[in-house]
Amino acid sequence: MSVVTSVFTLAEPDREAALVPRLAELTERHRRACEPYRRILDAIGAAPAYERVADFPWLPVRMFKTHELRSVPADQVFRVLVSSGTTGAPSRVHLDREAAAAQPRMLAATLRAVLGGRRLPMLIADTRSVVRDPTLSARGAGVLGMMNLGRDHTFVLDEQGRVDTEAVGGFLRRHGGEPFLIFGFTFMVWLHLRGLGADLSQGTLIHSGGWKRLAEQAVGNAEFRRTLAEECGLTRIHNFYGMVEQIGTIFLEGPDGDGLYCPDFATVVVRDPETWEEAPPGTPGLVEVVSTLPTSYPGHVLLTEDLGVVHGVDDGVWPGKRFSVLGRLPRAEARGCSDVYAQAEPGAVVPGGARAAEPGEAVVGGRGGGRV
């Protein structure tokens, strides 16, 4: 691969200018190639011209659970990613060869901003069995995807889920004095890294998966970062936000922990859920994720069910919007005499990733439709 420079370069006006024509092209491509998508756009009367990113029609991310949405013929589908939602049907995301190749490349390019160009020794805050399970979970798929970016993979937990002090000790003796990568799901990191009593000061932690389980213990990002710094010397910490429905696109926390940043090929629009207009910085709303990566399915403009807030624009270490995800919108509750949710209720939890994640496939994060 040629040397790819940082993907955190575009200030907001330049980003808009670069994204709008590309998104317009994608919208028309998907309109032509994906019949259900065309029908949706026709029904809501969405038509060009689109002047700003916020003008593009969005799809609710849950549509990938309820409908098969793809813009390539069935015989060109190279891989179907199946998220494992904890409730309801899984999301299904259809990739052709090109899209399947682009997503790990862009994921790597995004993380290069904090990991550098070399493949680093990698400590994983999880157990090896999570990637061996034949019905791979989204968590397992996420770990597998990240493993591409590292070497000498060492799992913090043994097969029984206990901390493997010997393995961790060996890893740190080999690599503890040079830069190394630590990856894990946020709650696994919190559970198992703190008590390690190890010096992780040369490590860079990449974590994702959402704050819900930590929020239940009243642990927020600030305390997470402070505690890991105090107890393990870990100061290079980057959370990220991403979802299977926009595979390959992640929104990465800056070095100071002051919010998530968008790579150049993506952005977010936080919308006021009453007016659906873009909310100004500082005002929470629903997070719409925008990315030019989805070429084989109409996932380039998606309204998530996550609440978020833009903190600032072009005012942080990297250009573009700086935002946080605040939590998940609760599921709508209706009164009524019958089981109106019968269709939406899970019959069983569908194990995810089974068809999705072959080794090397990155199913990142568990937000959006598929949760970890």
Partner: protein, 417 residues
Amino acid sequence: MRAQSDLDEQVEVTFPAPATVPAGALIGELASAGALGVGDERMIAFLTAFGRRLLRPALARRHPELGSLGFFLRPSELVRTLESMRGEHVRVPRGLVFHVPPANVDTVFVYSWALSALMGNRNVVRLSRRAGAVATAIVEALREALAEAEPAVRAAVSATQRLVSYGRSADVTAALSAACDLRVVWGGDRTVDEIRRHPLAPHARDLTFPDRSSFAAIKAAAWLDAPRSARVRAAQGFANDAYWFDQAACSSPRTVYWVGEPSGREAALADFTTHLWRVLAERGWGVDAAMAVEKRVATYGLAADGVAGSIAFHGNALANVTLAGDGVTAPGRWLGAGTFVHAGLSSPADLVPLVRRRDQTMTYFGFTRAELEELAQALAGRGVDRIVPVGDALTFHRVWDGVDLPAEFTRLVTVLP
């Protein structure tokens, strides 16, 4: 019958007084309770006192559906119900009635229970643990009415009536099913199927209220000709029908059929939308962000499936869907609070092939009685149990889903001279 050990499972009693008792003990208490008669004076006294509490302005303002319930329990209404039961046979209570109301409509259980109690039955009502604020208000009102009742009334009610809740214990449901003389199951197809797995005693029977859906039919020319005040009133009534229970009540309209010439239908729909939107705005009725997303998911899904031809949102509270083509039928299912599928018909007779067994209530505007009776005849039992004016969809009647409830809650004894 179940072994006694199955009856050790604990049941939380919320009425007449909070307690936790084994299911077996609960059934035993009710089996040995003294008998009430049909239209027992003590029960009438209690129901009317309870109904008066529901009509108190503060409560009725907070939960308008409790006002309707209070109205239903007025002495004159109860007497009318009893009078309608007179006949050549002697009516007697069925005995022990086990009610399984829906988890998410807080008032249905009261109608079902109150009519059964009026008919002199001993009742066990299984309340959902996720019962909402309205159910809590109802239980409080019941307890207060009991506390202030005459000793004889209090004793009779306490001995024969129970509101209970328990987890998803199949054993308790099985024990109550085996012990009861009549089982009343509300709350959808799945609940009915689930409850029916538990056998009843040979003489006992089920009264089931499965999933239903409802629609409105509006004569376009009549709408356009109606004075403004009548259209405003109809829009208010329609808003009540649809929005009180998030459009998820079985009798809330989900589809609106516009009957007449195409140009008139379009003009009428546009005017109707303006009036409905205004009612919602005036009352400040909206939906939250989660429901707004739910509506997008549901309506975009209809478009993706080729069912919806157009989707128009008027704020988050009101979404109008029109069908994609002539061969497409309205889905009839719940699409999120305040989502209406509009379809055009040339004449009321065009409704006949569209009606299905699960259709319950047709609310109407602008049709003559003769037209409606002709329609009812033409439907010939295909579906539709109630044809009522717009605004009356949720008005509970003792005949519900085509079932005469007080009659079902009693048995007849033949006495020949």
